[in-house]
């Protein structure tokens, strides 16, 4: 469980997050939605310690994460698939995965075969440089690299970006089944609100750094105002 309380983050004079509070429950998918510049990426980067907040707290279960180093936060079991995916292009697929497994107390061979089972295309290309993968394959690699460490929390920053609708649907299905079969807490940042709302349990809508909705996904999905003004979902 991730509890965010009164979180304010700024870049100089620009306040990217203003007094944001919400809870991401264990074994649930919490969608964080909002337009460009709403502060979604900043939120995930602050949770991971890449950005210091101006004030407020972020807790994982009972532990405060603020002021910890990024690498220590990762070692607490928070997997972060960054915006733009962050696969290392000059590493092979398998080297990327080995790097992901490095900190976890998991058996490397077993972890690799689990991920290759989940994402067969990665197994076929294990010796290929990640730079040569397609966008969708890279997204799978980024996911697999986070999952191989068996995180208890997964932060996903626009996983559907640049993917074909069918691939997006598959990806969402994968995220959903992970959440169902383990105690994984997922914070899913998406601009693509409709596909995220379909699998999320809970949704938080940000608008220029402020929380404008924080409710069950079904409630957010049914709210005409939100749909129209903040999520760009007009029939």
């Amino acid at each position: 469980m991730i509890t965010i309380d009164d979180l304010t983050v700024s870049f100089g004079a620009v306040q990217a997050l203003r007094s944001v509070s919400f809870v991401a429950e264990t074994a649930k998918i919490t969608a964080v939605l909002g337009a460009n510049g709403a502060g979604k990426t900043t939120l995930l980067r602050t949770i991971s310690g890449l950005k210091e907040p101006r004030s407020g707290t972020i807790r994982m279960d009972e532990r405060n994460l603020v002021h910890r180093r990024t690498e220590d936060i990762a070692r607490l079991g928070i997997g972060h698939v960054p915006e733009g995916r962050g696969v290392i292009g000059e590493f092979t697929v398998e080297e990327n995965l080995r790097l992901g497994a490095m900190m976890a107390k998991v058996n490397l061979q077993q972890g690799l075969s689990e991920q290759y089972e989940q994402f067969p295309v990665l197994g076929e290309r294990r010796r290929q440089h990640a730079a040569k993968l397609s966008g969708g394959e890279r997204q799978m690699l980024a996911m697999a690299r986070a999952l191989i460490a068996k995180p208890s929390v997964l932060l996903l920053d626009e996983p559907s970006l640049g993917l074909a609708p069918l691939v997006t649907a598959q990806l969402m299905h994968t995220i959903q089944s992970l959440c169902d079969t383990s105690d994984l807490t997922v914070i899913l940042v998406e601009q693509n609100a409709s596909s995220a709302l379909r699998i999320a349990h809970h949704a938080v809508v940000l608008h220029v750094g402020k929380v404008v909705a924080n409710d069950a996904a079904s409630v957010v999905a049914a709210d005409e105002n939100l749909r129209q003004y903040y999520l760009g979902l007009v029939e």
Binding site: S48, L50, R69, T70, E71, A74, R75, H80, P82, R85, G86, V87, I88, G89, E90, F91, E95, R98, L99, G100, M102, M103, H129, A130, A131, R138, R145, A149
Partner: protein
Amino acid sequence: MDPFLTSRIVTDVLGGLTNGVIYGMVALSLVLIWRSTGVLNFAQGAMPMFATYVGFALLSYHFGYWPCVVACIIAGLLIGGLTERLLVRRLYGKPEINPIVVMVGFLIVLEAVAAAIWSSFPRSLPSPFSSIDWQLAGKPIALSPFTVYEIATGLLVMTAVAVLFRFTKLGLQLRASAVAPEVSRLLGVRVGRLLTLGWMLSTVVGVITTVLVSSNFFTGLTPQVMDGIFAFGFIAAAIGGLESPVGAIIAGILLGIANQFVTDFVNQNAVIIIALALLIVSLMIRPSGVFTKRTERRV
């Protein structure tokens, strides 16, 4: 072929190989630092020189050669680590010229301080290996127990570094920290520590090189002992492509051999001119270095 010419060529190749291994090691240590921290370390000769003096001071040669070498290596670990923590850490992410200026300044300071404390008079660090060339059919060949020790140590160190980088967990983390520090941290890699470790490692490669050079009966240890060697190592690293450890090693060895031929067949003074010409030509053909693969750098 004329047997005299043949033996001359063999002699040049063997003699050049010895120097080439030394240049290759300097080039390799430059590449290590460049790849892991993006700093072109102009003090890559001076830091190990200083560490070798410190090692000497800690444990005088009276204890024998090998304990002294170990003391030098320990001093190298310390100096490499401290330099990264106290000096270089402030330079990351700054325009490339800043580290260059700072490291050139550091080089000058280290040489001056070494001269002030230990004087510029050469100290000998004689190795247990004889420098007298072996003879083949009554004629000396350019190979002695000492040069064999030099070449073997050089090849061993270079292989060890290559294996470390290619095949170990630590190497994977070092490479990842270099190309994608932020992503590495998100995966739990302690990037800060690894950068320090990278400097420690490359300084130790430098110390081993310096010890080999100053163990040479004819050279000894002076504050400037690495200056000329650094210049050739630098040229080799540039020819090999700063990105490529194997390229740096091969370029270093070839440069050593080429130098020997130029010395023998042209003139000792032509060496640096030819080396620079080689550098310019290779940079014109392949600006990123002759041995680098052309791959996308980052995703």
